[in-house]
């Protein structure tokens, strides 16, 4: 009889083989609850899915036909690691709308700007490095920083965006502790999840501080062209070329399924990005790049962005109206563009703990905790108004009000623990 200790089955026979950073990847109960949003009975105010139905299908069909006729053999072939030259040239026109004038040589096409962020994380972040970010900050970026074992420090952020005074204080404090700061990560226009836009005056101060302190700014700008009234201030990259890395995307102004984004970086960083991109992908999808290039060449793409603006403006209005109607006492941001409201709940209510109740009531939102790396955000939730119809937004927020009332009653019953 063997004296060997019986070995259990843990369903992962390679558990001992993973890199340490694999521990940064985990499933969560919240993610599981989101499985219900695919049911039509559930109003999802959770995901930030662009309303692609507002994009006339024939526009892309015509682009597809042109592409296959004129460049089909190239579209189906490998491409370069930096991305298609014609598309990079056209991206200059897109960025010009944000005040940026750049060389095609400094643009790198990526598989969504998310991959651009990942490449930058891989190039710059060592374990323990610090990334400075807004409070709250984009969940997808936090995931990348966590995966590269960086430490995110959230900075004070108000209705005018990130506070430069706190930026200075935190830089000093962190450096006094011997910490190494690599990035300041910002979504300056209609931020995800806050909906807040960084003021022009603060942009200049932040650039000045980061230039002086030798900190790279990651200016992530997927929503800048989706303004509902006045245009937001021009991009920081338009007046600072050396310490700003700019990330753009076609996900919100065209379609996320194409997975095309881009990075505009100083030349030395650009070189490394191209090498990293080649290492990761060989080349970003030639097919979708050329499809977008045809679309930009032949379609009224700016008119289409205007259509999107109208759709999202109507939905933002529906969301704010419903908040005023059903939850008039809650504080919410009032974004002038983008996809999101950031709501502050009554004292004591935990948005993450309340989510199962919301699912029971057939409404879903994103708990504020998703947007903090430090455990914060329990008292907040994000409402995405981009995808549901105005009628469903109203219904969803009405249901949300019921959920919050039930949770308030429960907390009052137990003395607001």
């Amino acid at each position: 009889m063997s004296n060997e200790t019986p070995r259990g089955n843990n369903f992962d026979h390679w558990l001992d083989s993973y890199a340490a950073r694999a521990n940064t990847l985990s499933v969560s109960e919240v993610r599981a609850l989101f499985a219900v949003v695919s049911r039509p009975e559930v109003v999802s105010l959770a995901g930030g899915m662009p309303y692609v139905a507002a994009l006339p299908r024939e526009l892309l069909e015509a682009s597809f036909d042109n592409m296959m006729t004129e460049r089909g053999n190239f579209a189906l072939q490998y491409g370069g690691g930096q991305g298609d030259l014609r598309l990079r040239d056209q991206i200059r026109e897109v960025m010009a709308l944000e005040g940026i004038h750049a060389s095609v040589e400094d643009i790198v096409i990526t598989t969504g700007s998310q991959q651009g962020l990942d490449l930058l994380g891989g190039l710059f972040l060592d374990a323990g490095d610090v990334v400075l970010a807004e409070s709250p900050s984009y969940v997808g970026a936090l995931g990348i920083f966590r995966h590269y074992e960086a430490h995110v420090e959230h900075l004070v952020t108000d209705e005018n965006g990130l506070d430069p005074a706190d930026l200075e204080v935190q830089i000093k404090a962190l450096r006094a502790e011997g910490r190494r700061i690599k990035f300041l990560y910002l979504v300056p226009n209609f931020g995800n999840p806050s909906g807040v836009t960084l003021t022009e005056e603060r942009r200049h101060r932040i650039v000045e501080i980061c230039r002086r302190e030798h900190i790279l700014i990651l200016e992530d700008n997927p929503y800048g062209l989706l303004y509902f009234g006045e245009k937001p201030p021009v991009a920081m990259r338009s007046y600072e070329e050396d310490c700003v890395i700019y990330l753009g995307s076609f996900s919100k102004i065209l379609a996320p399924g194409l997975r095309v984004g881009y990075v505009l970086a100083p030349p030395a960083i650009r070189d490394k990005l191209v090498l990293a991109n080649e290492s990761a992908l060989l080349s970003p999808s030639t097919f979708t790049q050329m499809l977008i290039s045809e679309y930009l060449e032949k379609s009224d793409w700016q008119g289409q962005i205007n259509t999107f603006r109208g759709v999202y403006r109507e939905r933002r209005d529906a969301a704010l109206d419903a908040m005023a109607q059903y939850l008039p006492n809650l504080h919410t941001t009032r974004p002038d563009g983008g996809f999101y409201l950031w709501v502050t709940l009554p004292e004591g209510i935990d948005s993450k703990a309340m989510l199962p109740l919301a699912v029971t009531e057939l409404v879903a939102y994103t708990p504020g905790t998703a947007f903090y790396a430090n455990g914060g955000g329990h008292e907040n939730l994000r409402i995405s108004f981009c995808y549901p119809t105005p009628e469903n937004i109203n219904l969803g927020i009405k249901r949300l009000a019921t959920v919050i009332q039930r949770q308030t009653d429960l907390l009052e019953t137990f003395g607001n623990h």
Partner: protein
């Protein structure tokens, strides 16, 4: 189709998966795994959502058997099974009555207790009780009555969602709130330290049979939701590393519960064995998880049979009205 597994060649099965519940994702995974195994056995399988078109699909397709792999309220509280029993199509698993009795853990505990099976002392309280009788007084009464630690859990929920182990009476109210977001009734149960076991009972037409018990050893000490769905978080031992006398007792309890509640083709009984070798009944599941990390498939594989063979046997038993 895998050669040698053609017995189910003429069997047409609808697997129901998804639904609106907190366990929808697990249900979808279970449904796909069951469908894969049945297809390997030669059956013709479609996976359906229990939605507004379900009854129409059943009427049009007239499957030989329906297999609900729906977890959470819609699949386990008896409602859907009641409707299925009104169709002419046989279905796998507990009928509506059995599901109702098992779905409410407090009811299942009462029934287990009445048949002489030990179950941890508990208090079952609807949310409204706290509002009507003053929460502080009720909690104080509970704290005087119970010895800590206790386990607070929703009376009707699954996959350990909303479950908290409370060491300190001061944390009881927070745990109650976390349970009540899943269900309006919560159970406060004495915590029993020991070895967690899951005993799957199947009936392929020849009577209920307990499969080898699966021992659960969470690497972090807690078998919560995340541990249940993440490979690597838990070590499972089949058969469990306990004395055979204890395992026989656990098997007997599981079959007894299965019979008492009338759970027909498949169920999973969760037990905990304390340091004295006493097996305590915790709950019984009429729609046990059948995903790649679930307990019931491990028990089946430990018998030397394949999932295809056993699932086909269960489906056939349901079709023939056996079990």
């Amino acid at each position: 189709m895998i050669p040698g597994h053609q017995k189910g060649q003429n069997l047409r099965i609808q697997v129901l998966a998804g639904g609106i519940s907190h366990e929808r994702d697990i249900s979808l995974k279970s449904g796909r795994r069951v469908a894969d195994a049945l297809i390997d056995a030669g059956a013709s399988v479609v996976i359906r959502e229990p939605d507004e078109d379900l009854l129409k699909h059943i009427a049009e397709d007239t499957p030989d058997v329906i297999w609900p792999t729906l977890h959470g309220a819609s699949g386990e509280d008896g409602a859907l099974r009641e409707i299925l029993s009104l169709t002419a199509v046989p279905f796998v698993g507990a009928g509506a009555d059995g599901a109702r009795l098992a779905w409410d853990k407090s009811i299942a505990k009462i029934l287990a207790s009445r048949t002489g099976i030990q179950t941890p002392a508990s208090v079952t309280l609807p949310k409204d009780t706290f509002r009507e009788l003053d929460a502080e007084s009720v909690l104080a009464q509970v704290a005087r009555h119970m010895s800590f630690p206790v386990v607070v859990k929703p009376a009707r929920s699954g996959s350990a969602q909303g479950v908290t182990i409370v060491e300190d009476p001061a944390h009881l109210s927070r745990a109650m709130i976390d349970a009540y977001v899943y269900c309006d009734v919560a159970i406060i149960e004495k915590y029993i330290a020991g070895t967690e076991l899951a005993v799957t009972v199947i009936n392929q037409g020849a009577g209920p049979m307990a499969l080898p018990a699966v021992e659960i050893e969470p690497t972090g000490g807690h078998f919560g939701y995340d541990e249940r769905v993440t490979a690597g978080e838990v070590n499972y031992y089949v058969p469990a590393r306990l004395d055979q006398v204890i395992l026989d007792k656990a098997a007997k309890i599981a079959v007894q519960i299965h019979d008492e509640l009338g759970l027909r083709h498949i169920s999973r009984v969760d037990l905990i064995v304390d340091e004295n070798g006493v097996a305590w009944f915790l709950e019984v599941n009429v729609a046990p998880g059948l995903t790649e990390t679930s307990l019931a498939p491990q028990a089946i594989l430990a018998t030397g049979a394949t999932l295809s063979e056993v699932y086909l046997g269960i489906a056939e038993a349901a079709r023939l009205g056996r079990g």
